[in-house]
């Protein structure tokens, strides 16, 4: 007690990575339907970092300005899910999801709406899978579009409740044969990590079984 941090065990981190992998993989199916092209995914990366470090990681990866679709999830765990891509790729994504037949002026006009809807489908798909696997429900806010440097994307009000440590999860995606790529990131602060640790423990028990389940059978 008295420590500011919550440590996840290797197996809990593994379980969280696997959950995010499941969530993003399912969400990629929806995106695949929308863009009619294969969506390539990286292996997810999960780390416990300071918010500054998360911002720096984003800044290192992308020199250009970013566009992000942002949704807040609330329930036993609370946090933010972001679909992030370089600003230069935003119109290309809209072109991909609208079928590529619209003139540029229509695409520009639709950009905001199409980004919000695409983000909503991907992020909700991902969060719904995670919530189902954890057997908890999550309320998800409406999508909001953010533009700017990585600092603006991450330094959102309200500031983290406890400490400045966030769980930073990201997974890269790219659409095959289209110049579109980006990543899904999730941020959670400390109180949520405590709750998450408990939920991951239950999830691991259900998934892998264990001595307790056997001996009380």
């Amino acid at each position: 007690m008295g420590t500011a941090g919550v440590d996840l065990t290797d197996l809990e981190l593994d379980a969280l990575t696997e959950l995010v992998n499941l969530g993003v993989s399912r969400a990629a199916l929806s995106l695949r339907e929308m863009v009619s092209a294969q969506v390539l995914l990286s292996v997810p990366s999960v780390s416990l970092v300071s918010r500054d470090r998360a911002t720096a990681i984003l800044a290192e990866r992308e020199a250009s300005k970013l566009v992000a679709v942002h949704q807040v999830f609330q329930g036993d765990i609370t946090g933010r899910a972001l679909l992030i891509f370089p600003e230069t790729k935003s119109l290309e994504l809209v072109r991909a999801v609208t079928g590529g037949t619209l003139p540029l002026e229509d695409i520009i006009e639709l950009e905001q709406e199409a980004l919000a809807e695409t983000g909503n489908i991907i992020l909700n798909g991902c969060l719904a899978t995670i919530a189902n696997m954890l057997q908890r429900s999550l309320k998800v806010s409406l999508p909001e579009i953010l533009r700017g440097e990585s600092r603006q994307v991450f330094d959102l009000a309200p500031p983290p409740e406890a400490g400045d440590v966030v769980m930073f999860i990201y997974i890269d995606f790219a659409v095959r044969d289209r110049n579109v790529n980006g990543y899904v990131a999730m941020l959670m602060d400390m109180p949520s990590l405590v709750a998450l640790k408990g939920l991951l423990g239950e999830f691991i028990e259900r998934t892998a079984g264990g001595p307790a389940a056997m001996s009380h059978a």
Partner: protein
């Protein structure tokens, strides 16, 4: 000689889930586990395996690439590729190289159906 099945997934939890299902469906099989393709190939070369259950999305080479490499060692080996990413392209590639695609999270029923298809238990008399 015991039946050796190779289980490859970068997630330990996913390997535990597969192990749990396998040990209830085919308790006498020997499991050989690896966390990536390199480790898997090293194990398969060391001592032959009779079946492989592979995750698709792994650091290094993916499960489909690994499946092709394992097939080069043993063209008849039954291989299942397990993934939540059932996009057409992935499923088609899995079929093209003669592997079975199984959705993740893997249920015991799906695993049993696959095993019954590729490695049926010898029937006991009198049934």
């Amino acid at each position: 000689m015991p039946f050796r099945v190779l289980v490859v997934d970068d997630s330990r939890l996913a390997r535990m889930a597969i192990a749990r299902a396998l040990s209830s469906i085919r308790p006498d099989w020997v499991r050989v586990e690896a966390g990536d393709a390199d480790e898997a190939m090293a194990l398969a070369r060391q001592e032959p395996v009779q079946m492989a259950l592979l995750d698709f999305n792994m650091p290094g080479r993916d499960g489909l690439t690994l499946a092709s490499e394992l097939r080069a060692l043993d063209p008849g080996m039954p291989v299942a590729v397990i993934s939540a990413n059932h996009q057409e392209e992935v499923v088609r590639r899995a079929r093209e190289i003669g592997t079975t695609f199984l959705p993740k999270p893997l249920t015991e029923q799906a695993m049993e159906a696959f095993l019954d298809q590729v490695a049926p238990l010898p029937r006991a008399g009198g049934r």
